[in-house]
């Protein structure tokens, strides 16, 4: 029973913004609101909001990796795609089987973990310089895109599922609980609750001892190593976790839209998580969550203007944020609003 207060203490630990009673009250109110909101929404609107939310896990994973562990990956979307395509293949071949989606999801996540583990092994156990990880992860996702793009012919199929080349894979089954397919409002709740659980779980992680060690690795890997930690193993674990989170976003995506194309692992898509994390502020999970939802919403509302300027705006946002708000806009705001008491004082409920 003593675990419960301990967990609560961890949740309110110092490694994320938002710690005061005020904050938690607002947070819970927001959650309740989100749970009740669909009453006033059409199914279409609900699934749109689900679309903004489904991108949160990949962003949180990158935030954990970059902001809390000091490892920058430009290729998180590769795992988004790996999980999505794998789910499409497995669940697509198991149509009619109620366990298809679950097996497909597990396969997707497992493959992400394996690829990340192998990739990460070479990178972290080689103790390479910092700039190598973003470069090689970017190369991985670009090569993946090229590969998937040339799978157009009929020979490119696994079981009964076509890979589809540049047009992508279609007819991907949605997620099922038992024999009930999750669509519309159900899908909204599925994503919302999953994202909340993931966020709170990560918040627990970064405040835990394991999280503190990751922070130390970010700050000074050599010093951390010489305090007795195996930093290669810990960075590898963080990398695999981030990959799994990216894969979860990928799963949500194909379960939402029932299709996936190679462009999901291409250059523009690859830049998006970096933008969301940089704009929000990589050193706070909450900031990343907020900016991801906000920027996705913004993108959707502006997309009626035409796709042509998406890259320019994304790029400009990156440049401006890196130049003027290097720690992130949400974090900068959080620092300027201590008077509200909304985001807790520094010496508040320290762990």
């Amino acid at each position: 029973m003593a675990r419960v207060p301990h967990i609560l203490k961890l949740l309110s630990g110092p490694e994320d913004i938002g710690r005061s009673w005020w904050f938690w009250a607002v947070f819970i109110a927001a959650c309740v609101f989100m749970l009740v909101y669909p009453r006033w929404l059409s199914e279409f609107q609900a699934t749109n909001i689900a679309y903004y939310l489904l991108n949160v896990p990949i962003a949180l994973g990158l935030g954990l990796l970059w902001g809390y562990s000091g490892v920058l990956s430009f290729g998180q979307v590769a795992y988004f795609g790996i999980a999505g395509y794998t789910y499409g293949i497995v669940a697509g071949n198991m149509v009619g089987d109620d366990f298809g989606p679950i097996v497909g999801s597990l396969c997707g996540i497992a493959l992400c973990a394996v690829v990340a583990a192998i990739f990460g092994y070479f990178v972290f156990y080689g103790r390479v310089q910092n700039w190598i990880v973003p470069i090689l992860t970017l190369v991985l996702t670009l090569l993946l895109e090229t590969f998937l793009g040339q799978t157009a012919g009929y020979q490119w199929c696994v079981g009964s599922v076509q890979l589809g080349g540049y047009n992508g894979m279609t007819g991907i089954p949605g997620f099922q609980l038992g024999s009930h397919v999750l669509m519309g409002y159900d899908f909204y709740y599925y994503v919302l609750i999953s994202v909340l659980v993931i966020y709170l779980g990560l918040r627990l992680l970064v405040n835990s001892r394991h999280g503190k060690v990751l922070l130390a690795i970010r700050e000074d890997p050599i010093r951390t190593e010489l305090l007795g930690y195996d930093i290669r193993a810990r960075q590898l674990v963080a990398f695999v976790l981030a990959a799994v989170l990216a894969g979860i976003s990928g799963l949500f995506y194909v379960q939402w839209g029932n299709y996936i194309t190679p462009s999901q692992v291409g250059l523009l898509q690859a830049s998006l998580p970096v933008v969301w994390v940089a704009v929000g502020g990589r050193e706070s999970l909450l900031a990343v969550l907020m900016s991801t939802v906000a920027l996705n919403w913004l993108n959707y509302t502006l997309s009626s203007e035409g796709y042509q300027y998406a890259l320019i705006i994304t790029g400009a946002l990156l440049v401006v944020v890196m130049l003027f708000f290097p720690s992130g806009i949400v974090i900068a705001l959080a620092r300027e609003l201590p008077k509200c008491g909304l985001f807790g004082r520094r010496k508040g409920h320290a762990a």
């Binding site: 700039w131 973003p134 042509q308 890259l311 790029g315 440049v319 130049l323 290097p326």
Partner: protein, 297 residues
């Protein structure tokens, strides 16, 4: 006679692959070696070089002059970029990566918006030369020769000019160099400019072999990055040569049997293995040998 032609053909394949990698990466390596920054706008700079060449060529400028023009134009642009944005990120390598990536996004879609989806192509200059049953492109032969000239030029620049000496000092120990009166700010700007110019030069040289489009840089970015990762930052010349040679040894046979794309994938695998064994790249390993020889000279 037949086997002679086959040998020539194999050497040719190897040399063209190596030249491709070298040209794709040399601009990146120059900047990395000096400032420890990866310029993610590299692909876009190559595109700008190709665009410059295309525009000039279609105004009847002779091709060789187009290439030089590309070098100059993109070089100047690089200097501007360095002054305006990149210099604020020295010491923050990851930040530099992110910001140059943002710049590349702006410029590539900007090029699409301003110039449209394609620019008119440049036909490959020169014809072909036959040896046995194989024919070899004169153009690629000149590119291979040009790589040699380029390396020689860079070597002369770094080892036989004052600026080169100052640059090497700044690479070794910037604070010391500054204390000795080297204007490191200027060296950084010139280095970035040179790196950009080389990217533009490569872009112009590759322009006749690809379609000239806003995202054309992407096909060079993956091989270029891999070459840079394998080469490392210890020494520009040895890194560039060592890496392109080694990677070409991987790509040529695999590409020959399985096709170009698999060849590129093999490069990624090779890079992962190589960095596991030589985390600081080939240039670091070669540099140790050079230092050892110098010590006993």
């Amino acid at each position: 006679m037949d086997s002679f032609a086959t040998i020539v053909s194999v050497i040719y394949q190897f040399a063209t692959n190596g030249a491709f990698l070298l040209l794709s990466a040399v601009g990146l390596i120059v900047i990395l070696g000096m400032m420890n920054i990866i310029n993610l706008a590299h692909g876009v700079l190559m595109m700008m070089g190709a665009y410059t060449a295309s525009i000039a060529w279609h105004r009847n400028v002779p091709f060789w002059l187009c290439v030089i023009l590309a070098f100059i134009v993109v070089g100047i642009f690089g200097a501007v970029l360095e002054r305006a944005i990149v210099r604020r990120f020295y010491g923050r390598e990851l930040g530099a990566l992110v910001v140059t990536w943002g710049i590349s996004l702006i410029l590539s879609q900007g090029a699409l918006a301003v110039f449209g989806p394609f620019l008119p192509a440049i036909p490959i200059p020169g014809g072909s030369v036959a040896v046995g049953q194989y024919s070899f492109s004169v153009y690629w032969l000149s590119i291979i020769a040009l790589c040699g000239v380029l390396i020689a030029g860079l070597w002369a620049l770094y080892n036989h000019t004052t600026i080169g000496l100052q640059a090497r000092a700044a690479m070794q120990n910037a604070a010391m160099a500054k204390a000795l009166g080297v204007n490191t700010d200027r060296i950084y700007m010139l280095t970035f400019s040179l790196g950009a110019g080389l990217a533009g030069l490569s872009g112009a040289l590759f322009a006749p072999t690809v379609s000239i489009a806003p995202f054309m840089g992407q096909q060079f970015v993956a091989p270029a990055f891999i070459t840079v990762v394998v080469g490392g930052a210890a020494n520009v010349i040895t890194g560039a040569i060592g890496s392109s040679v080694l990677l070409s040894l991987v790509k040529t046979p695999i590409g020959f049997v399985f096709g170009a794309f698999v060849g590129t994938v093999a490069l990624l695998f090779a890079a992962l293995i190589i960095i596991r064994l030589m985390p600081d790249g080939i240039s670091a390993v070669l540099q140790r040998h050079i230092d050892r020889r110098n010590r006993f000279a």
